[in-house]
Symmetry: C2
Subunit: 663 residues, 2 copies
């Protein structure tokens, strides 16, 4: 048992490491670690199940610092608990270039940082996703292998962001009873008291979404402990509203926004040391306190070892499946299954929308890869993301493999990040490409973290027709291509769709977005290739020696490009067609390959039913572009293509005018 006196000193160790690190960096947020130190101390020293020496123990409890600006809380904890990745030196190098102790917690910088946070509200979404993954895997592998809690610490900002509503309402609906969220209820935001901007009764709000709610003094260790124990026994997710004082202990700044986001300053720090009875030099933790923390770090070693024994004793196929899944390795059956499917496509040559082609590919994938976890933001029938294998998960039955995420794109994407971060599952979503805007912050975080989530983005151009410009993406491919480390795909037919799916699944370290059509398209890859041609990013779909004209296109505009080619060839112009399913993969090819693909045709033209931005890479700034320059319109899609001049005829006309000019 930890005495109150020891608790206070353990919590103060967090406070002063945080204060000192922020002060040394001359930058950072001391207020949250000071305010939440008591919560963190109780949770990490008495309840959280983890092992600093085996930080990737799959059945550890997860902890998400949703209020990521309080990063020094987690860095202090990781150092104190004995994680190897965060040394005292790292704490001293807080917010310095190359240090793992970045301004906000960055996934991958150090074990123990379960997710990248900072953009507010994201962590709550991640935590819900982790709790979903836990329950799903517990259902699949049994509680011997998977049974842990997911904790999050959220601030007022997290709760104000709309994404929190999406996440908590689904968590409540799904009765994620192993999810426990602390609300660091300090009543302060950057502009001043929260009362400047909000009067929400948060307990009532969470209760309205089916949560268990508790209201405690966040500086009372016994109350914190009791709340955790109550929450652990709840049959619903729990919000623990913990009333805290931001900058706890600072004589003048405590309880004010002055403690939030800047160093306290020498004088205030001296006052805080005095007020809290902490007489150590900066960065010094008394050895008895460091020992107490290190001891806390050893608390779950026995549990971890027992778990390892259970895994070792599990049936061979279960153990191997579990290990494969947690390693993120794909099943060996996947590649041959896709090859066989591609062979069949070359025979059948179906004309279907690529959203349907995606469903067909998923039918193959889901048949051999039990780790895929599908879903849609209430567009199942439109996104075609549900296959015969994917029964829906319900609050009372997690044996399914499909999540009805509801009309919650942003929450869905953040939850998917949490599912991927947990491990053992590959989440893929369903949504309209236009609504990638709604979940862009979470897609960006997936790219920044380098995690495998796959976004199925249907209705990918004016080709969706009558729903009109509010639903027609014109700039979204460009906007997604702008995000570093995100793979974007826009396949042209059934074969390319299968290939893009295969590549997306094979990316252990980055997210993908696959843009798909609503309208039907012919299969253009009529010759079977075992090789995945989409992996080149861009490739010769129709070659021509000494091509006078090269047409670059993607997705639904490949059909137009092929038609334009036929017309140009008929007029005596040797024409090549390059399919460009993925800009990013093309950039990763050798300089020689890229040069060859770009080629030296007299006329280069790109066709995509979106804006030009980005296409100059292929056609040069003097190249021709057939696409959109503004918003779409409501009408039958064939009329829209005519109206906006995205036709083979328009392409041919532009090419021949250019050839004429140059002649």
């Amino acid at each position: 048992m930890i005495s109150r006196e020891k608790h206070d000193r353990m919590a103060n160790a967090i406070r002063f490491l945080s204060i000192d690190a922020v002060e040394k960096a001359k930058s950072g947020h001391p207020g949250l670690p000071m305010g939440a130190a008591d919560i963190a101390t109780v949770l990490f020293s008495r309840y959280l199940s983890f092992d600093p020496k085996k930080p990737d123990w799959p059945d550890r409890d997860r902890f998400v610092l949703s209020a990521g600006h309080g990063s020094m809380l987690i860095y202090s904890l990781l150092y104190l608990l004995g994680y190897d990745d965060i040394s005292l030196e790292d704490i001293k190098n807080f917010r310095q270039l190359g240090s793992p102790t970045a301004g906000h917690p960055e996934y991958g910088h150090a074990a123990g940082i379960e997710t990248t946070t900072g953009p507010l509200g994201q962590g709550i979404g991640n935590a819900v996703g982790m709790a979903i993954a836990e329950r799903k895997l517990a259902q699949e592998f049994g509680s011997d292998l998977v049974e842990h809690y997911t904790y999050a610490l959220a601030g007022d900002g997290c709760l104000m962001e709309g994404i929190s509503q999406e996440a908590i309402s689904l968590a409540g609906h799904l009765k994620l009873d192993k999810l426990i969220v602390f609300w660091d209820n300090n009543s302060i935001s950057i502009d001043g008291p929260v009362s400047l901007t909000d009067s929400t009764d948060q307990l009532a709000r969470f209760a309205a979404s089916g949560w268990n709610t508790l209201d405690i003094d966040g500086h009372d260790p016994d109350a914190i402990a009791q709340a955790i124990e109550t929450a652990q026994k709840s049959d619903r997710p729990t919000l623990i509203a913990a009333k805290t004082v931001i900058g706890f202990g600072a004589p003048n700044k405590a309880g004010t926004s002055g403690a939030h986001g800047s160093p306290l300053g020498d004088k205030e720090i001296a006052g805080t040391r005095k007020a809290l009875g902490w007489n150590e030099e900066p960065f010094v933790v008394p050895s008895d306190i460091l020992d107490a923390w290190r001891l806390a770090g050893l608390r779950s070693v026995k549990d971890r070892k027992a778990w390892e024994s259970r895994l070792a004793e599990a049936e061979n196929d279960i153990r191997m499946a579990f290990e494969r899944r947690m390693n993120g390795d794909l099943p060996g059956e996947l590649e041959p299954a896709i090859t066989a499917y591609k062979k069949k496509l070359a025979d059948d040559q179906p004309t279907v929308a690529t959203r349907k082609a995606s469903e067909m590919a998923l039918e193959v994938i889901n048949g051999v890869a039990p780790e895929t976890l599908g879903g849609s933001a209430d567009l199942t029938g439109s996104n075609n993301t549900r296959t015969s294998q994917t029964k829906a998960i319900t609050p009372d039955d997690f044996s399914g493999r499909y999540i009805h995420y509801g009309i919650r794109e942003h929450g869905m994407a953040a939850m998917m990040n949490g599912i991927a971060l947990h491990g053992g599952l590959i989440p893929y979503s369903g949504g309209f490409l236009i609504f990638s805007d709604y979940c862009r912050p979470s897609i960006r975080l997936a790219a920044l973290m380098g995690i495998r989530v796959i976004h199925v983005l249907t209705h990918d151009s004016i080709g969706l027709g009558e729903d009109g410009p509010t639903h027609q993406p014109v700039e979204h491919m460009a906007a997604l291509r702008a995000i570093p480390n995100l793979l974007t795909f826009r396949p042209a037919d059934t074969v390319e769709t299968a290939e893009c799916w295969q590549i997306a699944l094979e990316q252990g370290k980055r997210p993908s977005g696959i843009a798909l059509t609503r309208q039907n398209l012919p299969t253009v890859r009529t010759d079977f290739t075992e090789e995945n041609l989409c992996a080149y990013g861009a490739y010769d779909l129709v070659s021509a020696s000494d091509a006078e004209v090269t047409i670059f296109a993607s997705g639904s505009e490949i059909e137009i490009a092929l038609e334009a080619r036929r017309m140009l060839e008929a007029n005596g112009h040797s024409t090549r067609v390059v399919s460009v399913p993925s800009f990013e993969l093309f950039e990763e090819q050798s300089p020689e390959y890229k040069k060859a693909i770009i080629g030296d045709s007299r006329v280069k033209i790109a066709i995509e039913a979106g804006i030009r931005q980005g296409w100059d890479r292929f056609i040069g700034t003097d190249g021709l572009f057939i696409g959109m320059s503004g918003f779409g319109a409501s009408g039958p899609y064939k009329e829209l293509y005519e109206h906006f001049g995205i036709t083979a005829k328009a392409a041919v006309k532009a090419v021949e005018a250019r050839l004429h000019d140059e002649a």
Copy 2:
């Protein structure tokens, strides 16, 4: 008084116009208009204050169809009520190219469509913004000129989207008592029953945010009427949960997702006609019912005329100010004030961050333009959006000119759209550029609608330093530049910042985003020009005849460009520097101007602390680029610039290597 029998037939007129239009278009959403027809009939025939012949009457009640897929509801109403812009022919051309009756309601297509909706949840945000504008203008001009209600009709999807939480929590906090939201509580979404995805007690949720809540049968006209009257008297915003049956009257599809988003089909339509006793041919409204609707359209003529008399009788300066403001004309004092300010800047040449330069410009602007309504998403001190004139609005006092929006970027942007749509105010926000991702759907809608909202986007690159990659925009300028009809700015100093602000204010028909630095920058426009050079989008900051090298740059990288130029000139390379504050404005210049600015230097190089995407327009695909190719990092900003090679030295090295290669 309208009898129940007449009410039913009036509502059925909406239902069958909607059914028939969707059927003819073979596309659309009949379910909502059928389910919400009773609500709409009571509201529009008995309560909503408007005049179809003077649809821009400033003091009309506003109605927002947040569930925009139910567009036929509003088209039916506009036709029935006698608005000139929607004829029966237009109804028959629902969802056809060129028709005002687009798939979703498009602002500007017809009077009476107060906002563009379809992306769910946006309309609730717009409605909150309109209610804010109403209360603000009522405070300013008195209830003689401004006193009206704002109504919205929201679906389950609107309430599931996170943006709704941001909007309703601020509305509750601000006690927007003239805001009345109907929730079309039909328990159906696209994937099936709402119970698939949600168990939220919406009444409790809204009550938790300080709303008055009412629960009624949405097919009982008396209950609807009574609820509206109760809501009108409330001292808080009101949610009327109206239990409805989607596809009301359809024998097989009513109450199912089958009624939501596709034509009912001949047989089901015949059954619906029978069930509802509607024996008319398609698109035929019996003359007594059309008369009843047209009469309803005349209901507020007297009120409108009385209002016009009050306006005519108002004091001259009040009347003129009101008319100017509602017309969206800027005050005549603005231009000379900015010119005088620019003159002063040329004398003072201050070195400040452009976020500070923005505050300085705003101090001038807010001093002469009382219509600006500032704000920030809880980053007031960081965004520098508050000036001496802008006291904060509070729930009990709307005399201020500043809104603490809270940590609600998405809601803020949607509310700003509503404020702009209402008229009489020019909303500008404050946020970090990185969080433009959070509000991107609303920014896009502002661009699609063509309305004047101005987003202040500070901390615009790795220059923000220690907060790290979660907070460092690298792709955001490219992503914003991709949105059609959005003006983006990245000014380089105090003078450019003032000029960009002036241009943004002068845009009556499009939104702007101004990217601003956290770090200090010197004033580089040291020679006073009365002319607004930023209006060219790109211009010669430093000319050179027969320049061997042209450096294009924006914002904080202009300082680096000028330093590189000095170094290159010292090495004997004639070098020109082009400042590029706005890509979009540059594209609007004459071909000759653009050609001259691009020029024909042997080496073209662009410098921007973001990704290259879009810059090829200036430098060509073989041009040199100094910027970012991936995410940023946490550290002091000067070190980051060094680390990522965004320095004058790196630019000079690249240029000289290229000159050497070419020599």
